[in-house]
Subunit: 610 residues, 2 copies
Amino acid sequence: MLGLQNIKRLLLGKPIATKHAHDERLSNVLGLAVFASDALSSVAYATEEVLLILVLAGTAAFNGLSTIAWALCGLLVIIVSSYYQTVHAYPEGGGSYSVSKANLGAGAGKIAGAALLLDYVLTVSVSVASGVSALTSAAPQLEHMKVPLAVFVVIFITYLNLRGAKESGMVFAIPTYAFIVSTLVLVVVGVVQGIGHPAVAPVITAPKGGFHEITLFFILRAFAASCTAMTGIEAVSNGTQAFRKPEAVNASKVLIQLALLLSVMFVGMSWSAQHYGIVPHEASEPGYMTVMAQLATRLYGANSLGFWITQITTFMILFLAANTSFAGFPRLASLLAKDGYLPRSLMSLGDKLVFNNGIIVLAGLSCVLIVAFGADTHNLIPLYAVGVFTAFTMSQSGMVVRWKRMGKTGLPMIINAIGAIATGVMTIVLSATKFAEGAWVTIFAVIGVILFFNWSSRHYRYLATQLSVDEDDTLPEVKTMVILLVPRMHKGILRAIAYAKSLSQDCRAVHVTLDPSGVQHVKEDWIKFGSDIPLVILESPYRSLVEPLVEYIDETIAIEPGMMVTVIVPQAIPKYPWHRILHNNAAVPFLRALGGRRNVVVTNVRYFLK
Amino acid sequence: MLGLQNIKRLLLGKPIATKHAHDERLSNVLGLAVFASDALSSVAYATEEVLLILVLAGTAAFNGLSTIAWALCGLLVIIVSSYYQTVHAYPEGGGSYSVSKANLGAGAGKIAGAALLLDYVLTVSVSVASGVSALTSAAPQLEHMKVPLAVFVVIFITYLNLRGAKESGMVFAIPTYAFIVSTLVLVVVGVVQGIGHPAVAPVITAPKGGFHEITLFFILRAFAASCTAMTGIEAVSNGTQAFRKPEAVNASKVLIQLALLLSVMFVGMSWSAQHYGIVPHEASEPGYMTVMAQLATRLYGANSLGFWITQITTFMILFLAANTSFAGFPRLASLLAKDGYLPRSLMSLGDKLVFNNGIIVLAGLSCVLIVAFGADTHNLIPLYAVGVFTAFTMSQSGMVVRWKRMGKTGLPMIINAIGAIATGVMTIVLSATKFAEGAWVTIFAVIGVILFFNWSSRHYRYLATQLSVDEDDTLPEVKTMVILLVPRMHKGILRAIAYAKSLSQDCRAVHVTLDPSGVQHVKEDWIKFGSDIPLVILESPYRSLVEPLVEYIDETIAIEPGMMVTVIVPQAIPKYPWHRILHNNAAVPFLRALGGRRNVVVTNVRYFLK
């Protein structure tokens, strides 16, 4: 463990003292970079997702793109207004999970929590897959490397996040703003150039079996696809506590800025794609280019500087979008762990003031999804939005209940009610339209996670009952015997001998020998330094160090069952971490071999090598 | 650690008690299966390797195949005679490494040891890659899955070996004998059918730049390629100790059986391939078939039962060939570790009486090679034979020196001298003819491993000097203070309290609180059960459990620098291993945070949950 720890230090730098925790709060400029990149980056794939549906029904449907974009803006206004209330009502953060739990009860909280956990994982997978597509659109020779590239990107983000929150903010500010500027420029150029010229008719090849009819279900499907643009909007309210004081005011400012930026970008992008007749490619096509890359090619020219800037900033914002989850997932997991729904090891702060265990779990799960879905954004998307909208619905319903309970049935409650109804309807629409394409995976996964929550909390509750002290519990009487494991006499164990003697009158030193001819030497050395501790020599004809010792201990316990046997194992700690491979800690196999023996305590006394 | 351990138990079964170590010896029938599969299986690729050279020079060269096979048999007789001497001279096993070290000195021992370690790794990589080719020759739809398939096979062999040596023998006996039978049948059918009919002329397309001239170097190159058939022949003498008593007699019997089988198979296979004009494919060709698969198709018909039996038994023997290394590598690594050349953790027996750490290192390295070389046998082969022949040469030179020293300059010495010269010449030929194709990798790797040996033995020697006790070393005076970490009062820690009191008069209990409102409750509980141990409450405003405790310990040590502080951390041990993810051991982060503090001992007192 210590070897790993030193490698970690080398890679990640010195741990931050907890005293400095307050300095780690994010300014609004950094906060936007950290929490808004997810929502903004969805511009890179949302338009494409809508178009992939629309083209199934030919040119007339294709020209509905802008309308859908505007409709989405309407929904965005509803959701942001609703979250604005939430941020002010819950400045301590926690978002959908806290709100649902507090107002709708534990069951709703668990649904929201499970949905959000999955969303964080999917945010990483989708964003990284989409970011890598932005890259391969510009460099098609990397196309066959998509999966390893995506996994590499996840590992790199994990590394950055293990270094700590503040550095994350700094690293992420510049690319976020670069993307905002480059996308606004793209949109403005598109609109300005486009307005003077007539729209280009798209060239759409009919799918097998002819064009789809434009039914209500079809329109809903297209609108559902646009909802991917909305993912990430909840990140701000989950992370309110990461902002400087007053947290609610700062967080809600960032929320509104984010909504404005998102609307302008998404509507502008959709209008331009429609105006220039840009038809999406299948991801499996050789020479696949994203819709955004096609638009940039159209406006700036193939492989022009503007095109490259667009692709690189898109890659970078998507990289950062994945990072949003690395801020949010561990925080949520920690909240859930506090409530007993997740293992306690996810609860505590790591030594870099971020939640290390949560980060590692998130990275692992998202890599699994990336590999399983071949880093294809379009395959991953159907899994994505259902969870987001489930959490939205829970959160806003919770707010409605809250206002009612407080007797405040005015505008805020109406806003939240509208939000709850709108997102609730969309959750149903999303589940229905995307069920077969992959939403079923999410639905089953949410159920699976909730079952895990229940299992975990049942275990912790059972523990509490099992371990609670009764009136008639008393302190047991314990006698201690010390067994010191002696390899051969050397300087490192002198201190261990002295320590053993200080613990108990009843001390024995045990030497396990593989080679009986060396025993005499060990005995002589022992008499010189071992003072009055008796030395026991155990022979091991079959070359195991562990087995004879375990037998010896078992015999000892059999004689005095009330005895606690403390086994002291001297452990060498080398000066350099890379020397550790040359030193094994005998306590480890020993502790394993002892298994469930209740009366044995194994202790390492460390000695430090120069 | 214990969690992993339990999973291991589930997967690998109960550990074997050391008392049963003698029962694990192999009978000759099992010994042939375990140690000879490597050498025998090389028939599956050796003919192909020779042909890949010969076809470069057209039909005339192609017809030299049988001649080369017979020449190889001559070399085989020399080498086996030589190893026959070795097995009898060194019944305790160890092969080239022991022989070189004992007779030629540490330097030669290290060269032989490094060469053999690499060979074991390459045996796994080459055999598995070749086995997977046998499979994909029959099932071409699996062709693009070669690398993952090969990695999976390595993992599976690793699993089998972690279960123990005897089971390995049982699992491996049937397939080895199935291969022997099926290959002998193939060869007999080939020869019998062939003798009555004229030879088929091979259809060889000239390489770019025309056919190669048949120079002496070219002939040596082809002969060098045939030497891959010889790999694995040393496994028996390295593993003599795995045989039943009298080990030398049994091992040498198996060695001779092996040489006979190998000769018959290789000569028969080569004669048939030549007679039927079978030209090898490039591995990158779609629909690639091994030479053996082509021969089986020719003799039995495409996709016939005979063809499938040949392919499956070939796959299985190659699978087992990889297993040879899993028997040999850990044994050799253990010998090297005993001499201080490798980490001591490779020295000891695992609890299944096999060398677990060595097995895992071997599996890891061979997977790296498989992935790096795309599971292509022909790419891996050039790395392979140089190491084998280096070890041969070292071993036989060592034997010559041994006879000389013993004054026995008769036939055995002459046999070993011929062996040493023949293999020495072949080592030079192999290095020269295959240098650019990949032998350079082996040469550099051997040098790298030797440098590691030196670094390791230097470190252990330095340690021995640094730690050796002097006349003026005395036992230090040590006072012990006990700090008991108290989460909240529960049944599990009652025993820990009693244990703490038994260790020292100077005991304190420390409770770190994240939530000051709960402190009163902890205090009340403490008074009820804590008896006379004072309770210290440490507040942790920034939510770290570890930091306040480390500060407290630092303050304590500062007051009394001679004090040993024993920190007792109660640890819950759940009944079922899968519950472990819900329990984290507070001692682990704590031990990390304490880093290099010399005066602190951290001890877990375990309590077992029902």
